[in-house]
């Protein structure tokens, strides 16, 4: 039997997996958008709008926004955990990070929603 203290926390496997999965999603998105930009989708408003409002882009843009938020939360939270010792400041930074990630994510989704 595994003998370890249960302290109500998960042990990082989910975060590890999420960080990798969301990273791959964003890397793929970056390559797709960068390639499209070299093909001139950013040359005019009409082309840019047509590109971003196409069905595949609506699908993966949303995935990318969700991935970005989740990835940023884990990464930034780990950074605070490593460098900020006073519990009060750390907790405040965690809360501010969650709020700003959710706010930015919601804002980005609204932009995509309007397309």
């Amino acid at each position: 039997m595994v003998n370890r203290k249960l302290v109500g926390a998960h042990y990082g496997l989910l975060d590890w997996l999420v960080q990798r999965t969301t990273g791959v999603v964003m890397a793929a998105y970056t390559v797709i958008v960068a390639y499209a930009l070299t093909q001139g989708v950013g040359s005019s408003y009409e082309r840019w709008l047509a590109f971003m409002s196409s069905t595949p882009m609506r699908f993966i843009s949303f995935l990318c926004v969700v991935s970005l938020c989740w990835h940023a939360w884990i990464g930034v939270r780990d950074t605070w955990m490593d460098y900020v010792q006073p519990a009060g400041i750390k907790l405040t930074l965690h809360v501010l990070t969650v709020l700003s990630v959710i706010g930015c994510g919601g804002w980005a989704v609204q932009i995509l929603w309007r397309l």
């Binding site: 990798r20 408003y45 840019w48 990464g75 460098y83 010792q85 930015c104 804002w107």
Partner: protein, 130 residues
């Protein structure tokens, strides 16, 4: 006695950022963090630019004007570097997760590769956009 003194050496409880001296893989690694935090802090700016680019033909032009401001150009090139570095380091991390390039020599040469790709690519793409 020498062995005793090394085993009883006091280890730091957390990293002292000023005293620590990093190998190349460590530099690439800390830059992964710096670039990630930078992208996170500038996220509202990026979402705002995305919004301008998609709202209307007028705001599309306005976005171009905003992005053409020298200060913003500087920030955007910094973010471009952050994205490229984070991207390359991310691939390196995924490869190491798959047990590719784990030993020290390979790990340090892959860290050099990350820098050798992300820095020139930033300059090339940055120069084109500027």
């Amino acid at each position: 006695m020498a062995a005793m003194s090394t085993t009883s050496k006091k280890r730091p409880k957390y990293l002292n950022l000023i005293k620590i001296k990093l190998p190349i893989a460590g530099i690439a690694s800390i830059l992964h963090r710096v670039s990630g935090v930078g992208l996170f802090l500038m996220l509202p700016l990026l979402v705002w630019l995305l919004e301008l680019s998609l709202r209307s033909p007028e705001s599309f032009e306005a976005m171009k004007q905003v992005a053409a401001h020298p200060l913003l150009k500087l920030i955007l090139i910094g973010l471009l570097w952050a994205l490229l570095h984070h991207f390359c380091m991310g691939i390196r991390i995924l490869l190491i997760d798959m047990h590719i390039g784990v030993d020290r020599l390979q790990a340090s040469s892959s860290a050099k590769m990350v820098l050798a790709v992300s820095l020139p690519l930033t300059l090339i793409v940055g120069a084109k956009l500027w």
